[in-house]
Symmetry: C2
Subunit: 246 residues, 2 copies
Amino acid sequence: MEKIKCVISYDGSGFAGFQIQPKKRTVQGELEKALMTIHKGAHVRIQASGRTDTGVHAKGQTIHFETPFTIPEANWKRALNTLLPGDLYINEVEKVPSSFHARYDVIEKEYRYYVWNEKETDVFKRNYAYQFPYALDIKAIQDACSYLEGEHDFTTFSSAKATTRGSKVRTLYQASCEKRGSEIEFIFRGSGFLYNMVRITVGVLLDIGQGRRRAGEIPYLIEQKDRRLVGETIPPQGLYLWRVRY
Amino acid sequence: MEKIKCVISYDGSGFAGFQIQPKKRTVQGELEKALMTIHKGAHVRIQASGRTDTGVHAKGQTIHFETPFTIPEANWKRALNTLLPGDLYINEVEKVPSSFHARYDVIEKEYRYYVWNEKETDVFKRNYAYQFPYALDIKAIQDACSYLEGEHDFTTFSSAKATTRGSKVRTLYQASCEKRGSEIEFIFRGSGFLYNMVRITVGVLLDIGQGRRRAGEIPYLIEQKDRRLVGETIPPQGLYLWRVRY
């Protein structure tokens, strides 16, 4: 058997998330359907770096699968992209040692979140950014970001429904925010992310940008380990799984 | 009766074009449905600056309609946007004299066409630009653009199926091409456009950029008035009706 790693991108708008579900169009479902065609009806299970929710996009999601076939990497890429729908694309294919695992071997993930900071709706952004019409103090958000960086227990900033077992301590190597025109880009790089962590965190950062909270409250919020202290999870369409490092 | 002019934008990906058709989702159909709700079931016919085909986008399409209601402009905008789907948005509402007509009073239209000049597919561009993987000589395209500007008979550059009666003479005030990174932007401003004129013209310009034709052939092609001399109409998803001037 050969083990194949793929870096993939998808427009999350048309998918009911990554994970396969009966009667739903999912990224895993489309990938396994294409692999089944190549494997003449045999089911090939894929493993991803992690799931993404309905509407969440990926520029560099990473998966692996095992195959009895010996096919050059470029041919794998061509064959899969020929079979896959237009909103799902294989960027890179690489043969990896049998010890490789797309989820267990992650050393860093990068997520980005895009906010369209305008009162007027842009129909071309509705599925690709979160429209937020209120004025924001970017400096205050940047100050708050610096409190988020480092090793912390992110319980406050993750879904209370999370099924994560064990520690909710994660390390954020980067939490940053830049405004370019009407677009605000949030970048998070970390050792791992809890369920809904980026969408909850950006929600808190937008509260801070609006002056509804102070940047200096972040250490207190982290300390409390209480999801109920912060606001709602903001929408999925601004979120992109940008890169996974091994 | 009051006459209302609206500047509208739409993501053409989910529409079977502008013009109303039975059992198809069209821009006109969605607009007239919203107006019917506001008018308590009475049908209100809209007039546009012109139609757009399936998959073609608009940043500044312009329409008008007549109404017995006296509603402030801002309220029209809010009421319509509340009723319309997310891929169709009213940018501006203006009360206009009863003599105004969205099609007959056009003095200038601007179309843009976006080419994504990369070998690798970008899933986020598939509905919003035409992916063209071959190297292009932008200078040659710009030279060709300068031959297109001015008053010409554009028969060669319009659909042979066109139902346009009378003259195919139009004036192009601007035909230009700029490359920024992997994105190539074509801008056309003119007194009017024939059916498929932008998509056929950009197809010829891409031939020139590839070296399959010379820029200096443009005057000859115009002179021949023969659609069969040039290549196929390129795809709709790169095309945007950008602005209409009155």
